[in-house]
Symmetry: C2
Amino acid sequence: MEESASTGTLGKAVAVLDAIARADHPVKFRDLRAQIGQPPGTLHRNLSNLMKEGLVRANPDNSYALGYRLLTFASAAWASNRFREIAEPHLRALHEQTGETVHLGVLEGVEVIYLDKVESRQAVRMHSQIGKASPAYCTGVGKAALSILPGDEMRLRVNSIDYHAFTPATIVSAQDLEAKLDVIAHDGFAFDDEEHEVGIHCAAAPIHSPDKSFVGGISVTAPSYRVSREQLETWIPLVVNAAKAINQDISIQLGPRA
Amino acid sequence: MEESASTGTLGKAVAVLDAIARADHPVKFRDLRAQIGQPPGTLHRNLSNLMKEGLVRANPDNSYALGYRLLTFASAAWASNRFREIAEPHLRALHEQTGETVHLGVLEGVEVIYLDKVESRQAVRMHSQIGKASPAYCTGVGKAALSILPGDEMRLRVNSIDYHAFTPATIVSAQDLEAKLDVIAHDGFAFDDEEHEVGIHCAAAPIHSPDKSFVGGISVTAPSYRVSREQLETWIPLVVNAAKAINQDISIQLGPRA
DNA sequence: CCCGTCGTTCCACATAGCGGAACGCCGTTT
DNA sequence: AAACGGCGTTCCGCTATGTGGAACGACGGG
C-alpha cells in the first residue's frame, strides 16, 4: 500500500489525487489518512488546496471525490492528442475487418493507458474504458509496447514491475517477461492469452513515434468463448499492417525528425 | 488573458496545466511564458515537476501537451460519479422521447461542465463533449443551474462573470442575466435561444442535491433549422419531469440529509 | 563564424508548506 | 443529561521548498 514518489509539494498533492482515484467510492478522511501517511493537518491542507483548484470535491458527509475540473483537462488532453487522431481511421478499419473491439494504448511507465476504443455494439459505457490504466506486463498492448523499447530501458522497467497473478496465465517474473518480450520483439506482435482477465484474449502490435518518445500499441480483443486462438492468429497480419500504417502516418505527420 | 488565482504552489502548477489545456495545439515554452507571467526558471521547474507526475508530456520539439495521467484521473472521476450514474437512465428516456441530444451538466463556479451526453447517431466523437466547460450565462443548463442558487450566492457569481457576446442573442450584462434568472427560477426551466452558438437552441431544467452542494441541469439540444422553438416548448414538460425524477432519485439514493 | 535569442541551470533568499499540538464538534456511553 | 472519546479542524513556530534574478549554454539565423 506504500506509495512511491511524493516528491515535492506537487507530488504530495498528486498522491492524494491518486489515493482518491484508486478507491471507486467517495473516500473518507480517515481512509485517506490511512492510505497515505500524511499527518492530519497536512492532509487537510492538501485537500483544501485541491478543492480550491477544483481537482477534488467534498460531499456533505465529509467524504471526498475527484473534481470536475479533471474532466475538463482530460477532455482537452484527449481532443488535442495527435496520436489518437492519426490512429483513429486505422482503428475503425481494423474494427470493420474483424468485427471485434479495437484498442489504442500508450505506455506510461509500466502501465498502459487506453487512449481510444472502437467497439461493435453501442456499449453501455463506451467512455468508461478510455483513460483506464492497466499493467503493461499482462496486456497485449503493454507487452507489444515494452518489446520495442531499447534493451536497457526495457530491462529497467521490467525489473521495476510489481508482478501479480491476475489469472493462471499471468507472467509473474521479470525473467519470464523479458524472454517473452524478446520473442515479441522478433515477431512484431503479441498476444494476451487470458493473462489479465480469464476469458478475454487479444492480439496486439506496437506503434511508436520515430524517436520512441511515444510508445504504445493497438489490439483486437475478444472473449475466448466466441473467438478462438486460431481466429486471433489469422488477424495478426491485419493488426500488424494497421500498426505499420499508423507508424508511417505518425512519421509523416509529425515530421521524421521527431 | 490575465489568469486569476495562482494561489499557492499548487495554484501555479494548475495555472500551467490550464494554459496548456486552453491551447488546442501543443504549446511552446515561450507561449506559456507569455500567457502566464512566470519567470523562465519558475516555469521550467513547474513543467519539470508536472512531467515527473505524468500530468504534462513534452514533445521532441520542446512543445508541451497534457499528460496521459489526466485521462486516468478523469476516467476514475467519471466512472465513480454518483450523480451521473443516477441521471443516466433518465437521460436515455428523455432522448427516447425527443430523439434529440440530451446533456447532463454541473455548475462549477460560473462554468458548466458536461458530465454526460446521449445522442442519436453514433457521433464521430461521442466522447469529445464530455468534460467540456462552457460559460454558464449563455447555456440552458448553466442558466437553469444558476437560477436555483440562493439569491446572494447567485448574485455573487453573476457579478463575477466576464460577459462576451458569442452571438447577437447572448446576454451580456449582470442586470439582464439576473432578471432572466428570476424568470427562470419562477418557471422552473430555461431556454438557450442561440445565445452560445448561432443555429443551436435548447430547453433545460435544473437539478441539484438536497443541500445544493451540487447544482446542475439537463437539456435537450437541437439545431434550430430542424427543430422549431415551438417544438422545443412542447418538450418542456418532459425535460422538467425528467429533472424532477432525477432530483428525487438523488434525494433517495444519497440520503435526504445530504 | 559570430551574434542574438531562448531555454536551462544555479544559488541565496524568503515564503509557503510542514506537522506537532491544542481545540472543539459530535456521536456514543453510562 | 453530562462526561467521555474519537476525529476533523485550526494554529503556529520551524525549516524545507519553491522562488526568480542572473549567469550559462545551445541553437539557429545572418
